[in-house]
Amino acid sequence: MLGYLTLIFTCQLAGELLVGTLAMPVPGPVVGMVLLLLYLALRRSVPEGLGQAAGGLQRAMSLLFVPAGAGVMLHFHLLAEAALPLGLGLLVSTVATIAITGLLMSWLGRGARDDG
């Protein structure tokens, strides 16, 4: 399991290096995800330890957003000042995006699922 955690960290480091060197418009960890996907595609299976390491990280994933979320305390003033446009904008946009993306995908993706 430690070996596979090392693999995950190595993919992230390589991702950060690629993003920095090529000035790519995506975050390093996302490129790291693509690199790990390539590794799995070449290997043609998920090693048990990697599955465990990934599962552990993903079960804790909600927790990992708490420190960034507490950053809200830095902007009480700005948030109160623009409470109406920000609140309405976030609420309407989040609901609309989820509904439209979900409906389109469930409609367009029907064929792909029926094949499977």
């Binding site: 993919c11 590794y39 446009p85």
Partner: protein, 241 residues
């Protein structure tokens, strides 16, 4: 008496140490998760929201600034990167379905990405938001590091964008499952893609709790929407303003 003094001194020392704020983060989240499960996973009891409220309340009550808190909390925050990389595992397991749905994913994702930008800017603008507010809210559906870089490019406030990104994620995790069920979207790949497009990693984490297919498509959507928004939004901004 001596012991009490020792306790007080030790406490003053510990309350400013990384250990205290790291533990505070974990305890707040454990408590909030317990409440979420006890409450039948009621969306109003979202554990990220609950934990943030507790942490901020403790910091404000003790007069601690965010930078001091983050010295401890950064160890938790740091794991976001490896957790994102690890999403390759569910994605690989669903790869056959992803390949068969490639066209559907591309079209749904691009439409979702445009919806996220245009409705956020449109509604905030109609409600009286100024230029700085609009530039800060425009990239709100995208994972924080990318959203902050885009906001800066458009003339927004990057640290405000970071907060809006988190609030969007929490809103998506709270309301998303309800909205999708109401809209009649039952398929796990569509539910996941919607959660990841609209509310990035927090939506992905919520999707992973429910179903692996949903989690895989959410992680994929999070990555693709970061790319789509980074490429599309600056062009769109030039056309709009």
């Amino acid at each position: 008496m001596d012991n009490l003094e020792n306790l007080a001194e030790t406490w003053v020392y510990l309350s400013a140490s990384p250990l205290f704020h790291l533990t505070l983060t974990l305890v707040a989240f454990q408590g909030a998760s317990w409440l979420f499960e006890k409450g039948g996973r009621n969306p109003l009891l979202n554990p990220v929201l609950g934990a943030v409220i507790v942490v901020v309340a403790v910091l404000v009550a003790t007069g601690t600034d965010y930078a001091t808190y983050f010295e401890g909390a950064q160890f938790v925050h740091f794991l976001l990167g490896p957790a994102t990389v690890s999403l390759a595992v569910p994605l690989y397991r669903q790869w056959a379905l992803v390949r068969r749905s490639a066209l559907a994913i591309t079209v749904s994702l691009l439409c979702g990405s445009l919806t996220a930008i245009l409705t956020a800017v449109g509604v905030a603008g109609l409600a009286g938001g100024g230029g700085e507010v609009l530039a800060s809210i425009a990239p709100k559906s995208v994972t924080a590091p990318v959203a902050m870089a885009i906001a800066e490019e458009l003339g927004g406030v990057p640290s405000l964008t970071a907060v809006l990104v988190i609030v969007t994620g929490i809103l998506g995790a709270m309301l998303g499952p309800m909205v999708l069920t109401f809209a009649g979207v039952r398929d796990w790949s569509a539910r996941g893609l919607a959660m990841g497009t609209a509310s990035h990693g927090i939506g992905t984490a919520r999707a992973l709790q429910v179903n692996e297919t949903a989690g895989a498509f959410a992680g994929l959507a999070m990555g693709l929407n970061a790319l789509a928004t980074a490429l599309l939004l600056p062009i769109l901004w030039g056309l709009l303003f």
